[in-house]
């Protein structure tokens, strides 16, 4: 088994791909019986320091319907200078080049600048606005010098700032209540060249600006100072807000104008619209809540009761914008910092469909926001920004496979072809997707369908192949293509089930299934999704468990499956599927990140990691279980979204007593420090920056920990009371043990 783990890891390292199954069932029927679909997590831009750049055009298969790219899996006849396409078996005559590896990067000539369009809410508290202004000013220094930047501010009105002018600062102002078409926006911004009657008498104006747009989008190196000043002078929205009202915030129109501006000026060029908002849209198209404070913003309860009067309309508005943005190849980030909801539920499609970021915080004046924002502009080992734009992912499969769909920060390009399945999983019906914004960790779940019929077996040693072709605009403004071609063995599920079973990647499978579940949860009722997940789990256990019928105690799972039920247990409890205690915005936020992080991060989200620190030895990972909460331990929990440091009761008392300050208890000081250092390490690497919670036994913030651990001890099973075995959780949730007991019972039952 170790070999498979290594294999999987190797593949992930090299290709950025993790398959649920690494040996593929060779017939359609058998594949469906595997319960977990054949699917993979693809990280198209996985960082590969060793990746050799190749400076030539990719070699394409000459069959017009295929156009696969020459790859190491192709059979090559060096003497005849021929190669056979491993997807369509077309024989191609082509000059051959050596040094092929997987994946490949090709450079292409065309350059266009990166574009950053800041869309800034000015209805903020003074210190929030100040912090935001500083962050924005700071970001200017992080941008590539030739990047184009633009600034739109909004409150009651929307202002598009002209950045080129000397002296007087100039902005175009739009009413925040009026929905404008793209054409109107472009007309009003003067982006469309009107058919001007030529004035003979006048001297021809020298054409200073090659782009009409350049008034609003300027190279940062030219207007750095100007923009810094402009940001510095930015005032809070001056319109009075009377008591009992929310400020009028025209987020919908602001975004619409941002989209329209880029659409009219730089279509199909990498661009980020970065929306910074401190509250919900309260007027105009896309409004989420009215300006009366006495009417609170919609909750899950309201939505269930169909009581969220603006939700549908607003969602439609932002979806329309998101789709237009995706069509233009731009992406939208949302940085929402407010104590209350800001309408992420309605706006989520903007980052979700365009590959933008979604960041949620309490205030712009927090390190959470500041560092997260800074991290957007982090660079890789080559000194390039970790961002890419306007990618299209083209998936090609060998003929035994078809593509069922993808789940991730992408939209369908609606390219039908022979390898597109009719059964959709996620966003299907296409073999190409557009990922407008992506970074080295952006990960898509791609789902396949085995279509080979049972009666046409694949010869022994046959391999199925999949090629992922990602064309994108690199942050260095180059166009690049990365090609990843993978192949896996086919196996007959009847005769070689063991092989298949052994090649099961339960981690990948758990994440892929979770993505399907979360994808469903966006459109279905929560309980339905949970039932569906349960059913899948039971079926999987029935298929791969070893047990005697009707004897739960006999139930066993092999190592390659053993963790899977536990993942599902925690997934069921996760905020991705449970909305209780979460606002709609929070749910949207969690789901957004879940649908784009790579496998490791996704697993942390599903099942947080818990480390225990004590005097008994080095830090150790412990079970995410209430039994791990002990008085003499410090716990460090990483849920991806939160980093929680929890001091056990005794530790907390010691600290309170101030032992750490006494030289003779320096080791205690070190013990206290150790989790802090480890947490810092995680904080440094994580995007978005997690919420950092430092708490102790009995602290109010301890709830973050208590809500996550498996409630193995509750007030309901009092046997543990009084024993030093952990902390009881006051919950009626079932524990993992109970869950497993039920699962076993159902798996072995012949009724289901």
């Amino acid at each position: 088994m170790a070999t498979y783990l290594e294999f999987i890891q190797q593949n992930e390292e090299r290709d950025g791909v993790r398959f649920s199954w690494n040996v593929w069932p060779s017939s359609r029927l058998e594949a469906t019986r595997m319960v977990v679909p054949l699917a993979c997590l693809l990280t198209p831009l996985k960082e590969r320091p060793d990746l050799p750049p190749v400076q030539y055009e990719p070699v394409l298969c000459s069959r017009p319907t295929c156009k696969a790219i020459l790859n190491p899996l192709c059979q090559v006849d060096y003497r005849a200078k021929l190669w056979a396409c491993n997807f369509c078996f077309q024989r191609n005559q082509q000059l051959l080049l050596p040094n092929l590896s997987t994946p490949e990067t090709f450079f292409r000539g065309a350059r266009s600048p990166l574009i950053f369009l800041y869309v800034v809410d000015t209805c903020l508290e003074e210190d929030d606005l100040q912090a935001l202004k500083e962050s924005l000013q700071m970001s200017l220094s992080l941008l590539p010098p030739d990047a184009l930047v633009g600034l739109i501010t909004f409150g009651r009105m929307v202002q598009v700032h002209e950045l080129s002018c000397e002296g007087i600062s100039k902005s175009y102002v739009f009413r925040g209540t009026k929905d404008l078409t793209a054409k109107q926006i472009q007309d009003m911004l003067g982006l469309t060249k009107p058919a001007m009657p030529m004035q003979q008498a006048r001297p021809a104006q020298p054409q200073e600006h090659p782009f009409v747009s350049s008034r609003f989008l300027q190279p940062i190196h030219k207007i750095d100072m100007n923009l810094t000043d402009l940001l510095g002078e930015l005032q809070r929205d001056p319109w009075p807000v009377t008591q009992g009202k929310r400020p009028l915030r025209s987020t919908g129109v602001a975004l619409s104008i941002a989209v329209g501006l880029l659409e009219g000026t730089f279509p199909n060029t990498g661009a980020r619209i970065m929306l910074f908002t401190g509250g919900p849209p309260t007027q105009g198209p896309g409004m989420v809540v009215g300006d009366e404070l006495k009417v609170p913003i919609r909750s899950w309860h309201d939505i269930e009761k169909d009581n969220a009067r603006f939700m549908k309309k607003a969602t439609k508005h932002y979806e329309m914008l998101a789709n237009r943005t995706a069509t233009n190849g731009h992406c939208i980030d949302i940085y929402a910092c407010a104590l209350d909801q800001t309408g992420l539920l309605e706006m989520k499609c903007c980052p979700n469909l365009t590959g933008g970021h979604m960041v949620m915080g309490d205030s712009f004046n927090t390190s959470l926001f500041k560092q997260t924002f800074q991290r957007i502009f982090s660079k890789d080992f080559n000194g390039d920004f970790r961002m890419a734009f306007g990618a299209t992912l083209d998936v090609k499969t060998s003929r035994e496979l078809k593509i069922a769909g993808a789940i991730g920060p992408c939209v369908s390009l609606n390219v039908k072809g022979p390898c597109v399945s009719e059964n959709e999983l996620g966003v299907g019906g296409t073999s190409q997707w557009k990922i407008c914004g992506l970074d080295p960790t952006s990960t898509l779940g791609i789902y396949f369908e085995v279509v080979n019929q049972h009666n046409s077996p694949i010869p022994q040693g046959g391999r199925g192949a999949i090629q992922f072709v990602t064309q994108y605009q690199h942050s260095s403004t180059q166009k690049r293509i990365r090609v990843t071609t993978i192949a896996r063995n086919w196996a007959d599920a009847q005769s070689q089930l063991k092989h298949i079973e052994a090649a099961f990647d339960q981690e990948a499978a758990a994440v892929l299934m979770a993505r399907l579940g979360v994808f469903r949860a966006e459109s279905e009722e929560g309980p339905d999704v949970l039932r569906w997940l349960d059913r899948q789990l039971i079926r999987l256990c029935q298929k791969f468990g070893q047990y005697n019928k009707e004897d739960p105690t006999s139930f066993r799972l092999s190592d390659s499956f053993s963790l899977y039920p536990q993942f599902m247990f925690h997934l069921r409890r996760s905020p991705f599927l449970q909305v209780f205690n979460n606002s709609p915005d929070e749910s949207s936020y969690y789901r957004h990140h879940f649908a784009r992080q790579d496998l490791t991060q996704s697993l942390i989200m599903i099942q947080p990691i818990l480390y225990s620190y004590s005097f008994h030895g080095p830090p150790e990972p412990v079970l995410l279980d209430s039994s791990s909460i002990l008085a003499d331990r410090i716990l460090l929990m990483d849920t991806f979204f939160q980093i929680v440091i929890y001091l056990g009761e005794t530790i907390a008392q010691w600290r309170k007593a101030g032992y750490q300050d006494m030289p003779e208890y320096e080791n205690f000081k070190h013990l206290l420090q150790a989790p802090l250092d480890d947490a810092q390490e995680i904080l440094q690497a994580r995007f978005p920056m997690p919420r950092y919670v430092n708490t102790e036994h009995g602290g109010s913030q301890a709830r973050f920990l208590l809500s996550k651990v498996n409630p193995s001890q509750t007030h309901n099973n009092l046997y543990a009371w009084g024993q030093e075995t952990g902390a009881p959780i006051l919950t009626d949730d079932v524990s993992l043990q109970v869950f497993m007991d039920h699962l076993k019972k159902l798996a072995v039952s012949s009724a289901s």
Binding site: M157, Q159, E162, C165, G167, I168, S169, K170, S171, Y172, V173, F174, R175, K178, L180, D187, M188, L189, G190, M196, P197, Q199, R202, Q205, E233, Q235, P238, W239, P240
Partner: protein
């Protein structure tokens, strides 16, 4: 002797001694004692004043008994409730007013004034009636036969359509008018007993009645006996000729001599000079109900003693007919021209401000009239009876005051509202919008920065000028700085707002491109205190010309600009004024977009009125919104081609703003004129968010209003703003009988916000007489006001009726008024005689000027923009402005006495008054021409222009060179004096005789036949005479 005034025909017929001459106006209500005062002579004032104090005024028959202001005690017993009918002895009044009028010391003059006035009038009457005297012949009468011959021809051409209402053959003018010597004017007898059919119409513009259709009830003959002797006296005393007049006629062109002698027909100049001679420099106190004020052209000091100064209100007649039948019969419009914010010279008392604190003004409970001298206190002062509706009201406790033995409150002279015609109240919150005290108003400057304005330097000029003129924003007298806030917008086809908040280093520009639905992009920082934001504003004004220097934008919007300004004021919750500097037809795609629809083919058709109507109704509804949000719009137009003034101008008109137009603006020629207008407009006295209500005593009411106003209902006159130059003309109609005792009382109340943001009420009260004698009515008319009314009503009518109809109506009404007089008031005379009431002597010439104005004259030579512009100007004019506008002032400059600072006496506006050796200055309130005869004295030329000869003069100037010579200094001084207090800065045009621009100049010689049509004065007089004859027949 009847009150006939004037008989024109016989001036040259010398054979009519004893004819129609009389100064009867005064005689018949004055007491006999003064009647015989020999006209024409400045009688020593003493005796007259002493014997007939105040009697000289033409107030209705004075019931001698009740003199409310009589000396204490004397009249106490005889007090009737009606207080104001009788003219009190001036002296008494003067003294009794002492507490209120500190200036009373200088008061002894009124009495003399009155006598002088009479004399002057008589004199003028005589002068006109020169036929009456044998002596006229030598000085002016051309030989009879000659004129007869010459006269036959000319009248015909201009008359045809206008003057002949029916198909009736026109009696040859000569017969009618000239009826040479032979038509012997019978010695003036008293008027006929019967009246010709009174006009069955109320509307001005109805066709004239068929003569003789109906016969009115018999009219009581006047007390003829009294007047016989006076007349004789008058005739005898006629001294002959008017002083100086003939002298000016250096060389009347020979051809004129053949015609009816122009000197024999009533001369406006003479009327003006006479009034000046009698009343000029005097004190006129308003203590008497129904007295006729000095003419607008006469300078005098006015003392408010219970009636509003004529600077505020003037009436077509100061004696209303008692019944509507009478009014219909005479067809004299009953109207008042109210200029509530008129500028008061510094030597007159400014308005007192009454503050009743939280209680607010005391008002009649029923009709809501404000406390005023017309209120009668009764029951020991506990109640007061309203003079307007007669309702008896309780006096509020805080206002109680005991009455003295004549029934007058003890504090009568301490309270302006009890003793003065005009005063102001501090308004309480009830009078404010939303019951909140108003914010100080704002001025928003909106500059068209399209290509042409940038190119000709206008934008730069405006920006430069604003820097200095903003220092002079108007402020409340007691305040250090102006409370007015300012804002700036530039625009072409989009709008640019500017944030000029004081804490900014640089102004910020905010562009609003959504002109379809314009809005205000900022609140804070748009309207600022000039002093606080001065540096940012200067920075902005420096940058604006630069900013658009490269602009190629030709298209402009207009309605959205106003909308934006209005929205800005609305958002700031204040009243204000927009200053718009605009130059082109707004063709950009936006509301209020206009097309060029100037169509000369419409001229002289029934559709001509379209040219005066706005192209779309956008502007009217926008104006309505503006008024609702008290946003006044002043528009400076710089058109180089058609801009559709009829559409664009509607907003300034309806919002109480001003329209200035500078055709083909050229920086080096026109900038001074524009800058003066701009400065003047910014600095002038103005009230905002005004609502005016004209209340009247029972029996009549205000029915129609003309001016820069907006009316949502029939009574409230709404004005976004009203400044010192704007007048509202109000027409009154009877709805019941008026009593001679009670008279006709008018109270005009204007609720407004001051420039400092205070809410105030300005009240003007005026008492008029009433009479059942037509003669009284005719006697009390003021022609200048009549013309103002006729002009406004006619100019209003051009929107709806063909011009031809309007012209006919005007002619007919003129004829009708005069015919009615002739029939009812004048002494019997030959049918061929033209008899004009003294007060309307110059009505024909003025009426002719009105008819010749380009608005009413259908000639394609005049652009429709110019016509619309003039139409609009007149709509808001006060009496003085309209007088000057229709009958320009023509001053001989070559006769200047450099030692005398007085203005030279004017001459009549006719080419015949010019001379080749002369230099003349012509002024009409809009334009100023300096006409130079070809043989102008070289020393004058040298003195004025500093060039050796006529040929060296460069006409291309709008300012006279500053030459040190006395001529130059005096001429420039005169021009300055003339310009003073005129609403528009006049552009000077230098015209050399017999050179091209003379054509333009000649249009203003309004007594002559117009270049583009329009009859000469003489012809028109003939025509009117003919009409009258027809009516009489």
């Amino acid at each position: 002797m009847s009150q006939q005034g004037y008989v024109a025909t016989p001036s040259y017929s010398q054979s009519q001694p004893g004819m129609g001459l009389s100064p009867p106006h005064y005689g018949h209500y004055g007491d006999p004692s003064h009647a015989p005062s020999p006209p024409g002579m400045m009688k020593p004032a003493g005796p007259l004043g002493a014997t007939a104090p105040g009697g000289g005024y033409p107030p209705g028959p004075p019931p001698p008994g009740p003199q409310p202001f009589g000396q204490n005690g004397a009249h106490a017993s005889g007090h009737p409730p009606q207080r104001f009918p009788g003219p009190p002895p001036v002296n008494n009044v003067a003294s009794s007013y002492a507490p209120c009028q500190p200036t009373t010391q200088s008061y002894p003059s009124p009495a003399p004034t009155s006598s002088v006035t009479q004399l002057g009038n008589q004199l003028s009457a005589m002068q006109i009636n020169s036929y009456g005297m044998g002596m006229t012949a030598p000085s002016q009468g051309p030989p009879g036969p000659l004129s007869t011959a010459a006269f036959r021809g000319p009248p015909r051409p201009p008359q045809p359509s206008i003057l002949q209402p029916g198909s009736q053959a026109l009696p040859p003018p000569p017969t009618t008018l000239n009826g040479p010597g032979p038509s012997p004017m019978a010695p003036p007898t008293h008027r006929q007993d019967g009246l010709p059919g009174p006009a069955p119409l109320n509307a001005q513009y109805q066709p004239p009645p068929q003569p003789g259709q109906t016969l009115g009830p018999g009219y009581p003959p006047q007390q003829t006996a009294t007047y016989g002797p006076q007349m004789a006296g008058a005739q005898l005393s006629y001294p002959g000729g008017f002083p100086g007049g003939p002298a000016q006629m250096a060389g009347p062109p020979p051809q004129l001599q053949k015609k009816l002698d122009p000197d024999s027909i009533p001369s406006p100049i003479q009327v003006i000079e006479n009034d000046r001679a009698t009343k000029g420099g005097q004190i006129y106190s308003t203590n008497t109900r129904g007295q006729i004020p000095p003419l607008v052209t006469t300078d005098c000091v006015i003392q408010d003693q219970g009636n509003a100064s004529p600077r505020y209100i003037r009436c077509t007649t100061y004696c209303f007919p008692c019944t509507s039948d009478m009014a219909k019969q005479a067809q004299i419009p009953l109207a008042a021209v109210i200029k509530p914010f008129a500028t008061i010279p510094s030597n007159e008392t400014q308005l007192y401000l009454v503050n009743h604190g939280e209680s607010g003004p005391v008002r009649c409970n029923r009709c809501k009239a404000y406390m005023c001298p017309f209120m009668q206190f009764v029951e020991g002062g506990r109640r007061f009876q309203c003079g307007f509706c007669s309702c008896v009201n309780d006096v509020p406790p805080f206002y109680f005051q005991h009455l003295d033995h004549v029934g007058r409150r003890l504090d009568h002279y301490e309270k302006p509202e009890l003793s003065l015609g005009s005063y102001e109240y501090v308004a309480t919150l009830d009078y404010c919008r939303k019951n909140k005290p108003p914010s100080p108003p704002a001025f928003i400057f909106m500059i068209d920065v399209s290509y042409s304005n940038i190119k000709n330097g206008l934008v730069k000029l405006i920006c430069e000028e604003l820097k200095t003129v903003l220092e002079k924003l108007p402020k409340e007298e007691q305040e250090e700085t102006s409370a007015i806030r300012v804002g700036f917008i530039t625009y072409n086809k989009v709008l640019h707002f500017f944030n000029v908040k004081s804490n900014l280093a640089q102004p910020q520009m905010m562009v609003v491109t959504d002109v379809g639905e314009v809005f205000v992009p900022l609140l804070d920082g748009f309207l600022v205190n000039y002093q606080e934001s001065q540096s940012v504003i200067h920075n902005l004004l420096d940058q604006i010309p630069e900013m658009f220097a490269d602009s190629n934008e030709n298209e402009t919007v207009f309605a959205p600009v106003i909308q934006a300004g209005m929205e800005a004021l609305k958002a700031a919750e204040c009243a204000g004024k927009l200053f718009i500097f605009h130059s082109s037809l707004p063709t950009a795609e936006a509301p209020g977009k206009l097309k060029n629809r100037d169509d000369k083919k419409l001229v002289n058709t029934d559709k001509e009125k379209i040219l005066f109507q706005p192209q779309t109704n956008v502007y009217e509804s926008l104006a309505k919104d503006c008024v609702a949000h008290s946003c006044s719009v002043t528009l400076f137009l710089f058109p180089s081609q058609y801009v559709d003034v009829a559409s664009l101008g509607l907003i300034p008109l309806l919002t109480g703003g001003t329209l200035y137009k500078y055709n083909n603006f050229q920086m080096h020629l026109d900038s001074q004129q524009f800058l003066k207008d701009l400065r003047n407009d910014i600095e002038k006295k103005i009230g905002f968010d005004a609502i005016m209500r004209v209340r009247t005593s029972t029996g009549f009411r205000a029915t129609d209003f003309f001016g820069g106003i907006f009316m949502n209902n029939t009574t409230d006159v709404e004005m976004a703003a009203i400044d010192c130059d704007k007048a509202v003309t109000v027409e009154f109609k009877h709805d019941d009988k008026l009593s001679e005792d009670a008279g006709a009382l008018i109270q005009c109340a204007v609720l407004y916000t001051t420039i400092g943001g205070q809410r105030r009420l300005r009240i003007h009260n005026l008492g008029l007489n009433c009479s059942s004698q037509l003669a009284d009515l005719y006697k009390s008319c003021e022609t200048d006001v009549l013309i103002n009314f006729f002009a406004k009503s006619a100019f209003k009518a051009v929107l709806n009726q063909p011009l031809k109809v309007i012209r006919e109506i005007l002619v007919n009404q003129t004829a009708h008024m005069l015919a009615c007089y002739r029939k009812n008031c004048a002494s019997p005379s030959a049918a061929s005689q033209l008899i004009l009431p003294d007060s309307m002597k110059v009505l024909p010439v003025y009426m002719n000027c009105l008819l010749k104005n380009c608005v009413l004259l259908s000639r394609p030579e005049i652009s429709s923009d110019e016509r619309a512009y003039q139409r609009q100007l007149v709509m808001t004019m006060g009496v003085a402005d309209s007088q000057l506008f229709f009958y320009p002032q023509l001053l001989p400059i070559h006769t200047l006495d450099v030692k005398n600072t007085m203005l030279p006496p004017a001459v009549r506006c006719s080419e015949s008054r010019l001379s080749e050796e002369g230099i003349f200055l012509l002024v009409n309130g809009l334009n100023m021409f300096l006409w130079l005869g070809v043989s102008s004295p070289p020393e004058l030329i040298q003195g004025i222009f500093n060039v050796p000869s006529f040929a060296h003069i460069n006409k291309d100037m709008t300012l006279l060179p500053e030459v040190g010579s006395p001529y130059s200094q005096q001429l420039r001084m005169i021009m300055n004096v003339i310009q003073q207090n005129k609403p528009y800065s006049m552009k000077l045009t230098v015209v050399k005789q017999r050179e091209q621009p003379e054509m333009v100049f000649r249009q203003f010689l309004v007594e002559d036949k117009g270049l583009y049509g329009g009859s000469s004065y003489v012809d028109f007089l003939c025509c009117v005479h003919k009409e009258i004859c027809q009516l009489l027949n």
